[in-house]
């Protein structure tokens, strides 16, 4: 059986528990924002749906504070909320017709 260290925290970016612990213990991360920047947690296609909660749990345990405190300042939710194909965005605001120019709408 894999030890706790090998547990995957963020599947999109392939980040393990050991890496999260290192970011906190060695690199001094104190916020989810820092874990995001150091490890790319939550930057993949799922945009943090499960990993942020897991990471928050680990961070709270390591810092000895309740998880709610760590979760109080979540990394900003970046739009779009769900991934959108470029081909759909191109047609936005054109009534579904191909835009003439490619640049400035």
């Amino acid at each position: 059986m894999a030890g706790e260290d090998e547990v995957t925290i963020c599947r999109c970016e392939d980040v393990t528990m050991a890496e999260v612990l290192e970011a906190i213990r060695v690199h001094g991360a104190r916020t989810l924002d820092e874990l995001k920047r150091i490890l790319r947690i939550g930057m993949g296609p799922c945009q943090g749906r499960t990993c942020l909660r897991l990471a928050a749990g680990v961070l709270a345990r390591e810092l000895g504070v309740p998880a709610s405190e760590v979760m109080r300042e979540l990394p900003r939710v970046r739009p779009p909320i769900v991934p959108v194909p470029i081909g759909h965005l191109v047609l936005l605001g054109t009534g579904g017709r191909e835009p003439k120019g490619g640049g400035d709408p």
Binding site: R30, V84, G87, G103
Partner: protein, 385 residues
């Protein structure tokens, strides 16, 4: 939590690429350094930029400085003991008008005279480098191509500098804001932080788009203005794009990250100055249209994230580096517009040389804060503004 000591040789304000790299080069010269950031390392423009490293500039000083940075980037993994993701994938700068063709010819001549292996590509040759690019649809007349330009990971580079600086004795205090610069008898004496007063012989203003506000606390007025710049990234796709592709005409740039996502930005010519971090639908749609036009197969690829950061813009689009008149020991290293990541290593190294009283590898004079009062400056035109 650790508290700052009473005094240091140098107090650095801001823990982006500039502050962290400056701390590293100062500490490696045996100076005691404290870095203060009111947020975390890379929270400013540094953590929001795509890490492009270009040497194709319209002014000689910029070309020289960028070439110096590239020398540093080439050995940075070894020097800092991290993998910075530095790659020389090249920069392909498309020319869309006759005017651009002429400007590029002149710039390339100057760049080659300084040793840059830049050359002109005809439309057919562009396709050889990026077959997916719709050269005709874009209306590109050709491109300036420099294979030694590239990119690195801004987080890896900046945390790499920060940790290396700490190993050399520098102290970095995050979540510690500087409220004001302490000035006595026309001399910077330290900083008042949210965790108390810290004395220092030198104060370095590396607060990015907030540098103007920091300078004001010392009675120094900088002409810098903050401008929002937006950027997005797509889901990962198969690696197909090695270079950064730019058009000054369309105000756009994009590249493929090592994870496969296409990361790109467009500068809105109507952007007003201000501390605005909102992501706009206007940007999302415009950028999508540009990507679809430049590389039609990207239509099926999904955008996963968009965000915004601030350019710290000076009147000539060139950074401010060096001492200011009126407050001795107060060093400005700011105003980098959209090129602080690439100019960062060389500039930080020069600033450390200056403070340590060593001979400088390159002159700082062209980037002096006084140039605006003197009214003698040449603007950088090769920018995505």
């Amino acid at each position: 939590m650790r508290r700052p000591r009473e005094s240091y040789d140098v107090a650095v304000i801001g823990a982006g690429i500039i502050g962290c790299a400056t701390a590293y080069y100062l500490a490696s010269r045996g100076l005691s350094v404290a870095v203060f950031d009111r947020s975390y390392i890379t929270s400013g423009a540094t953590g929001r930029c795509p890490g492009g490293i270009r040497q194709q500039w319209s002014t000689e000083d910029h070309v020289r400085l960028a070439m110096k940075s590239v020398e540093i980037y080439k050995n940075l993994d070894q020097e800092l003991g991290v993998e910075t993701g530095y790659r020389q994938g090249g920069y392909l700068i498309l020319a869309k008008t006759e005017r651009e063709v002429k400007d590029f010819e002149r710039n390339m001549r100057m760049q080659r005279s300084l040793g840059l292996p830049v050359r002109w590509l005809e439309p057919g040759e562009i396709r050889e480098i990026v077959p997916e690019l719709d050269v005709e649809g874009i209306g590109a007349l050709g491109a300036a191509w420099n294979p030694t330009d590239g990119y690195a990971d801004p987080f890896k580079v900046t945390f790499g500098y920060a940790r290396a600086a700490e190993r050399l004795g520098a102290e970095i205090f995050t979540f510690t804001g500087v409220e004001r610069v302490i000035v006595e008898d026309g001399q910077a004496r330290g900083v008042k932080t949210s965790r108390g007063v810290v004395r220092a012989e030198w104060v370095v203003n590396a607060a990015g788009a907030w540098s103007r506000l920091v300078a004001e606390t010392a009675g120094v007025s900088l002409p810098n203005k903050p401008y929002r710049h937006e950027i997005l990234v797509t889901e990962p796709v198969k690696p197909f794009l090695r270079p950064m592709v730019i058009s000054f005409h369309d105000n756009v740039y994009f590249r493929q990250s090592s994870r496969g996502g296409i990361i790109g930005g467009w500068g809105d010519p109507n952007e007003k100055p201000g501390y605005n971090f909102e992501s706009s639908p206007r940007f999302l749609i415009t950028m999508a249209r540009l990507l679809a036009k430049y590389i039609p197969p990207l239509r099926g690829v999904r955008v996963v994230r968009q965000w915004a950061g601030l350019y710290d813009v000076t009147p000539d689009a060139r950074q401010i580096t060096g001492p200011v008149r009126g407050v001795e020991g107060f060093i400005q290293v700011n105003g980098f517009s959209g090129h602080g990541f690439m100019m960062g290593p060389a500039t930080a190294h020069l600033v450390a040389q200056f403070i340590a009283g060593e001979p400088l590898d390159l002159p700082l004079e062209p980037f002096s804060p006084d140039r605006f009062e003197r009214g003698a400056f040449e603007g950088e035109t090769a920018v995505v503004g």
